[in-house]
């Protein structure tokens, strides 16, 4: 093995973590000079880990997710998944958007089918049948077999997000990117979907990177919570490890005194150490 100085290029024989963000900065040129959104972000995520990113609006959470998704490229540093530098979006990093991003002219089935088809590119009838089977399995996974042939307009917000999650999972991504997935839902549906997502994650052990505003949601679902400092030039302030074992139970968790310790740590980070100074804007 040859040893290379860091930061190593992603193709190096040095084994990088599953998902690696190293010295990542992102700035946008403006007439008054560069506007820095993210500054020196370092994060390693293990395969099968559930990581949440939490922080105030404008802290560059979405920029961070877009970098991993490949919609934008870092101005400095690099992002790599399985030793491959991320340069463009791809089906191995499926995003679940807050506004679902389902195509309204396709049914739930067709939306998922489009995603699966684009990953597997079936060439013959046997493969096409396999694709249809994958679609049906995932509709069942999120409990929407009966609504398979409904268009998004005929579905509730929760059902739409279920379809979006099913679409993402059916594509067998290496990492699932969730951008405030439950932000637009009512509290009851939100809890239902959190439980479902947790169940699915516990079964499939897919790696998840989730943006959220909701501290309870982050603690309930994650292995680690990444807390971001305020922008501009936002970076990772602190990473909180959530020690609860899986499978988790919401009722038992919320009675655990440790839950409150973690919750207070999160809240004090957000509202005391990095509280938004409204007068400054």
């Amino acid at each position: 093995m040859q040893s290379l100085p860091l930061p190593a290029p992603p193709q190096s024989p040095v084994e990088l973590p599953f998902l690696e963000l190293r010295d990542v900065s992102k700035y946008y040129p403006t007439p008054k000079g560069n506007y820095t959104v993210l500054q020196g972000v370092n994060l390693s995520v293990k395969s099968g880990e559930f990581v949440s990113i939490i922080g105030h609006s404008g802290c560059g959470k979405t920029t961070l997710l877009n970098l991993v998704a490949g919609f934008t490229r870092p101005s400095q540093g690099f992002v790599s998944l399985e030793n491959q530098r991320i340069t463009a979006p791809g089906p191995d990093r499926m995003v679940v958007f807050q506004n679902y991003s389902l195509l309204p002219w396709l049914t739930a089935y067709e939306n998922i089918h489009l995603g699966v088809k684009s990953v597997y590119r079936p060439q013959n009838e046997t493969e096409r049948r396999q694709v249809r089977q994958i679609v049906e399995e995932h509709l069942e996974l999120v409990g929407l077999t009966d609504a398979a042939h409904k268009k998004p307009k005929q579905l509730s917000g929760g059902m739409k997000q279920r379809v979006a999650i099913a679409r993402a999972l059916a594509m067998r991504p290496q990492i699932l990117l969730l951008d405030e997935p439950f932000g637009a839902l009512d509290p009851i549906t939100r809890e239902e979907l959190q439980d479902e997502l947790l169940g699915i994650w516990e079964r499939t052990k897919v790696t998840v990177l989730m943006i959220t505003h909701d501290v309870d949601e982050a603690i309930y679902l994650s292995d680690r919570i990444v807390m971001m400092t305020n922008g501009p030039s936002a970076t990772i302030g602190e990473i909180l490890t959530i020690p609860f074992a899986h499978p988790r139970n919401r009722a038992r968790l919320t009675e655990d005194p440790q839950f409150f310790t973690l919750r207070n740590q999160c809240l004090s980070f957000l509202y005391e150490r990095f509280a938004l100074d409204i007068d400054h804007d």
Partner: protein, 269 residues
Amino acid sequence: MTTTIPLPQRYSWQKFLPIVLPPLIVLVLVLVVWQILCSGSNPRLPAPITIIRESWHLIVNPFFDKGGTNKGLGLQVIESLRRVAIGYALASVVGVSIGILVGTNQLINRGVDPFFQVLRTVPPLAWLPIALAGFRQAETSAIFVIFITAIWPILINTSVGVQQVPQDYRNVSRILRLNRWEYFWTILLPASAPYIFTGMRIAAGLSWLAIVAAEMLTGGVGIGFFIWDAWNSSRVTDIIIALIYVGMVGLLLDRLVFYASKLIVQSEE
């Protein structure tokens, strides 16, 4: 289980009457006033009863054919509609194609948009002399006038629709790595369909307006020339019957495109 209660027959009438009655009352009132205004010994315009008496053969027999341009109004309208259909179909194909090209390519858009903005304001009939000079044929020229009238709303709406494809859908297509062909059929075309149909609906109305005017000048069989011919032969009652036909067909065309678009763009409902 729910039991279905049979509705009394009266129910449908109760719903129907408030819709049908007001226009019926207006129609009767207008006819009465018209009859009174045009009831002198030698009125300039014929009264309703005079129209019915003098143009009875046109009203009861829309499909007679006595050769030449002496045909029933139904046949005249069909002939006009045939010209509209050809010009409109050409305008739709060319307009949607160019619209997509212009909408997806910023550079082409900047180059041609100013010209489109000028050309679309040219009144349909102003194109007729140019068309006659170029084609030296009345029939082709009339169809060209329809084409050039219908193409602008279709083209401009299509290009706007293409530019309005939401970023979310583009992001989805980038993640799925759809090729150009898949992107066109599964995202671009459905996302801009509502805009395209709006353009096509406007174009259908304009085409019908233009054909009547164009036919007055080009002659031959067709509702436009029929009106002009009736004026030259002082058959004013025939003109009024023809105008009713023109109005009804215009309305039908508009409805037709509207329902066609509803059928195809049902996902937007």
